[in-house]
Amino acid sequence: MANILHLHQVGKVYRSGNRDLKVLDDVNFSVEAGSTLSIVGPSGSGKTTLLGLCAGLDRASSGQVELNGIGLNQLNEDELASVRNRYIGFIFQNFQLMPTLTALENVMVPLELRGEKNVRSRALDLLDKVGLADRGHHYPTQLSGGEQQRVSLARAFSNQPQILFADEPTGNLDAETGVKVEKLLFDLNKESGTTLILVTHNLELAAKTQRIIRIKGGKILSDTLTS
């Protein structure tokens, strides 16, 4: 299978006061389309930064990030936005729903951005899949944490992304709800054949993906396949 994501000698340096802070150093890996992968590591290890670079939210200080054959470093901000809309889906630890939009509208936004038709009915179908068909008119503050993350899942899959980035998707949920959301995430992923990249502390969750990359101090410690 072809690689959907390829990182070659990627580094990231932040300027903090008068000194440079090296957050990522010489990171190299590729991800096959349709596979699932976890990036694990302690706090401050650089995993969220890595996610940001892979998803085109930030630019590498050195090296190359290629997504679906497109070199992200060469793109300007608007081209990156277009790539995100066409190929990428996101799930965040703190859900990141637009507070001023209803659940249904939150799911509709990526589709509307692509100028697609029948947006409303497709968004309603997705909400139905995550079990929230009757909550479409509710605002995020009127939903529980688990419900908000399910809306977030519906939104992430709405534009039929080729790759999905999930940053601690169950980190803000209780164990029971977390398990439900996990199941939904993997089921939807399997159904749509999307590549899934998870960033997490949770080794139990990581073990459910096909491959685990361990990272510490901005460097890859190990890159292993799970049984």
Partner: protein, 846 residues
């Protein structure tokens, strides 16, 4: 993404995003409602004034043509007047004392001796109505209603004018073109012209204005007629007015008024815009996360920017429409506010062009000020969804912001220039407003720095928390300092200026300063008047001889030649005016030589007479030391040379002159005299005036007490108009204050809820809030007062050239009331948070 769908989607998103923020967005925009209302009301007023002037111009003049001058008509002029067909009226007017025998009241009035059926358009509005027509053929007068009220006179009473006692036939309520203010300054008394001679007031040296009114048949072509008579009229130094020129003159003066008022309204709008800018700044800061989410989902930076620009434009439009609606209502009341300044009944109607202008202005200016924050949206990184810490680096200094600042300045300048039509005035206004804003912002920054630097760590927790709120993130210090400070400065400056004006006049009433002027004293009357003064123990503080003359030639050029010379920029009135000149051998205390040399005595009868001119007058007419002026002194030509230029202080009761002759030239010329005296009180003044009026009816007197009353009256009326307009700014300041406090409520919710959760009592949170607003209100008010003191001092020193002794009691009241209102509004707004449970607040408001 299809562009058509794109824009529609952006509008949809703008609408979706605004739904949960309606109340907040409306609050932002409420700041500009009053400013727009003020401008729309004033624009409508301007439109209505122009409409009314167009329809009422004939009745403003009362005739088709008016010829006037303050010299009797020459045979040539008399011939011209006689040759004009149509109906004619003649009026001789002058200032003179009148005397009410019923209660011995005396007062200076404008006597109008009328012959003919003037006015031909409009009417002399009188009570009874018939009196305006019937008095002309009898020994009767019409007396202005302010005089009738002042002296409690009734129709049927007597009034002595000069040596004739008339019957009061009616109360004069309105004459063509006369305003309420004009009636206050110089109330009119109409007498039949046929009795003027008997009054014995029209003597040589009396300052009489001659007016001829004409009504022509409708078929007469007025522009052609004017063209025909113009050469003679101008050669004779007469002035002419037609309905058309009256329209232009009245239109011009009211355009000036509406321009001034619209600038006052514009200040209210600018103040409101500061509120908008601050509110949008906080709004966008709160939206950073939503913008970052949108960016993650693939929204371009420009699209995110447009979503909020559309949202703000929509809200700006709603605010402007609300303002325009309110303005349309307010304009119905403006005629009542301005009634004393209007020479006609003002009918009001809705002006759609005024409403259109107001709405466009509102949308543009609210967007411009909102842009200051909106441009930051372009810089919001999608990474914000992962790391909140990125927030600080996203709103960075941006060159586009400077462009927006430049656009705002350009807009303010452009708007001001459109109102004033003078770029220097527009620069001064824009500079002044910018300075005031910068000073207040500077004070706010200084305050925050000082509080941080000298933080009172020993204070109790509540005090420290309240004080620390002044500089902590999301503080409202800058915006509240600007809005409260400007409002306070506005009110206090108004108070100071009003005091300055009155104090300056009152200064002259103190001590032995002259406070009464007697003028038109003929030479034979000089000795008996001095005797009368002595008899009543009143001093002659100054006795000034006055000789009237006209300028015939300037550096060998006559008035006719000067008018033909197109390169000549000199004022036409230089030749047409009558000069009232005195002569003496020394300067008085109000004069100072600034150029040339003062020569007190003309020793060589063959040489030109060395005279002194007032420097401002010389400068306006480009006359220099060494220029020769030939005066016509009642038939005798007198060549003079400008030996010196004097700076003259015109303030106070003094006789000051544009042209001053030395001793030894005019002593034998026909002349009259002016005396200055000091009357200790109103009783002595009344008694003395009665004696003078009875013995010397031609002598007029100005009592400073009267001037004070009149000026007080005028300043009250002007003050009312200014206060009415300033009210918009002050109310806007209050709205901005309420809006800022409400916005800060959103900032403080998390904190208050956290404090409540940690166990803080309602009282403790209220005390913290009250202290924060108390510090802010007090410091902003203090800054405003200080700036007003600075401004008042500068006005006193440079504009009024007097000492600055402000009355501090009213300022103290303002200083106490402003913080009290600030604290009150702050507490009212916090009450909502405190009366609900922390969880409820977090779920609903955050």
């Amino acid at each position: 993404m299809n562009n058509k769908i794109n824009f529609a989607w952006l509008v949809t998103m703008a609408w979706r995003d605004s739904r949960r923020n309606y109340s907040r967005l409306l609050l932002f925009v409420s700041s500009i409602v009053l400013g727009i209302a003020a401008l729309v009301a004033i624009y409508s007023l301007g439109y209505n004034l122009q409409q009314n002037i167009d329809t009422q111009a004939a009745s403003l003049l009362g005739a088709d043509l008016e010829l006037s001058d303050n010299t009797p008509p020459s045979p040539k002029m008399t011939h011209l007047v006689d040759s004009l067909k149509g109906q004619q009226s003649k009026e001789l007017s002058f200032a003179s004392m009148i005397y009410f025998p019923k209660n011995s009241g005396t007062r200076l009035a404008q006597i109008r001796a009328l012959e003919g059926d003037f006015p031909y358009y409009g009417e002399l509005e009188t009570e009874p109505a018939s009196a305006g027509k019937t008095f002309r053929n009898k020994k009767e007068v019409l007396v202005d209603q302010t005089l009738m009220l002042q002296y409690q006179a009734n129709v049927g009473d007597s009034l002595k004018v000069g040596e004739v006692t008339f019957l009061i036939a009616g109360i004069l309520k309105k004459a063509p073109g006369q305003t309420g203010i004009a009636a206050t300054v110089a109330p009119s008394v109409y007498i039949p012209l046929s009795y003027l001679k008997q009054t014995n007031l029209a003597q040589k040296g009396s300052r009489i204005t001659y007016r001829y009114y004409f009504k022509f048949a409708p078929k007469v072509n007025m522009p052609l007629l004017v063209k025909k008579i113009e050469p003679t009229v101008e050669a004779e130094d007469y002035n002419y007015r037609t309905v058309e020129s009256q329209k232009e003159d009245t239109g011009r003066s009211f355009r000036d008024l509406t321009r001034f008022l619209s600038l006052v309204g514009f200040i209210a709008l600018l103040l409101g815009c500061v509120g908008v800018a601050s509110a949008i700044h906080i709004y966008i800061k709160e939206k950073l996360n939503s913008i970052a989410i949108l960016r993650c989902l693939g929204v371009k930076a420009s699209q995110a920017f447009l979503i909020y620009l559309i949202q703000i434009s929509g809200i700006g439009l709603i605010g402007s429409l609300l303002g325009a609606g309110l303005g349309a209502v307010i304009q119905q009341f403006l005629p009542a506010v301005l009634k004393d300044f209007l020479p006609f009944e003002l009918a009001t109607e809705l002006s759609f062009s005024a409403i259109g202008q107001g709405v466009v202005l509102g949308v543009i200016i609210s967007n411009l000020f909102a842009l200051l924050s909106l441009v930051s949206i372009r810089k919001v990184s999608p990474l914000n969804v992962l790391r909140a810490s990125y927030e600080q680096t996203t709103i960075t200094k941006d060159p586009l912001k400077w462009l927006v600042y430049a656009l705002i300045l350009l807009f303010v300048f452009g708007f001001t220039w459109l109102q004033m039509k003078k770029w220097t005035d527009a620069v001064a206004f824009t500079g002044g407003v910018t300075m005031a804003f910068l000073l207040l912002l500077g004070m706010a920054s200084l305050l925050m720095w000082l509080v941080r630097r000298f933080f009172p760590s020993s204070w109790g927790y509540l005090g420290r928390q309240g004080l620390a709120n002044l500089y902590r993130p999301n503080n409202q210090t800058a915006i509240l300092m600007v809005s409260i400070g400007l409002g306070t400065m506005f009110i206090c400056t108004l108070l100071f200026v009003q005091n300055l004006l009155l104090a300056r006049i009152k200064l002259s009433t103190d001590g032995d300063q002259p406070n009464m002027v007697l003028f038109d004293i003929q030479t034979p009357q000089k000795a008996p008047v001095i005797a009368l003064l002595k008899q009543q123990n009143l001093p002659v503080l100054q006795s000034v001889p006055i000789v009237t003359m006209r300028l015939d030639e300037l550096n060998g050029q006559t008035s006719v030649e000067a008018l033909k010379d197109t390169t000549n920029k000199r004022w036409r009135g230089l030749f047409s005016r009558e000069y009232r000149v005195t002569f003496r051998d020394s300067l008085i205390s109000t004069e100072k030589i600034v150029k040339g040399k003062w020569i007190g005595e003309a020793k060589d009868p063959a040489a030109p007479v060395p005279i002194s001119l007032e420097d401002g007058y010389a400068e306006r007419n480009t006359i220099k030391v060494g220029d020769t002026l030939t005066f016509n002194v009642q038939g005798t030509m007198l060549t003079t040379v400008v030996a010196s230029l004097r700076d003259v202080d015109w303030a106070g009761v003094q006789t000051n002159f544009l042209v001053l002759f030395p001793k030894g030239v005019l002593e034998d010329a026909p002349q009259f005299h002016v005396f200055l005296t000091h009357v200790p009180n109103n009783q002595v003044s009344a008694k003395f005036q009665q004696s003078v009026v009875q013995q010397f009816p031609n002598i007029s007197m100005i009592d400073l007490g009267l001037i004070l009353t009149v000026l007080d009256d005028i300043s009250t009326k002007i003050g009312f108009v200014i206060r009415f307009m300033a009210g918009f700014s002050i109310l806007t300041g209050l709205i901005v204050l309420i809006a800022s406090v409400l916005i800060s409520k959103y900032q403080r919710i998390q904190e208050s809820v956290l404090l409540r959760t940690l166990g803080a009592s309602r009282r403790q949170i209220l005390v913290i809030t009250a202290l924060e607003y108390f510090f802010l209100g007090t410091l902003a008010a203090a800054t405003g007062v200080l700036l007003a003191v600075g401004g008042g001092w500068a006005l006193a020193r440079f504009s009024f050239e007097t000492d600055f002794n402000p009355q501090f009691l009213p300022v103290l009241v303002v200083f106490l009331v402003v913080p009290a209102i600030t604290v009150f509004i702050g507490l009212i707004n916090s009450w909502g948070i405190l009366s609900r449970s922390p969880l409820e607040v977090l779920r609903q408001d955050v």
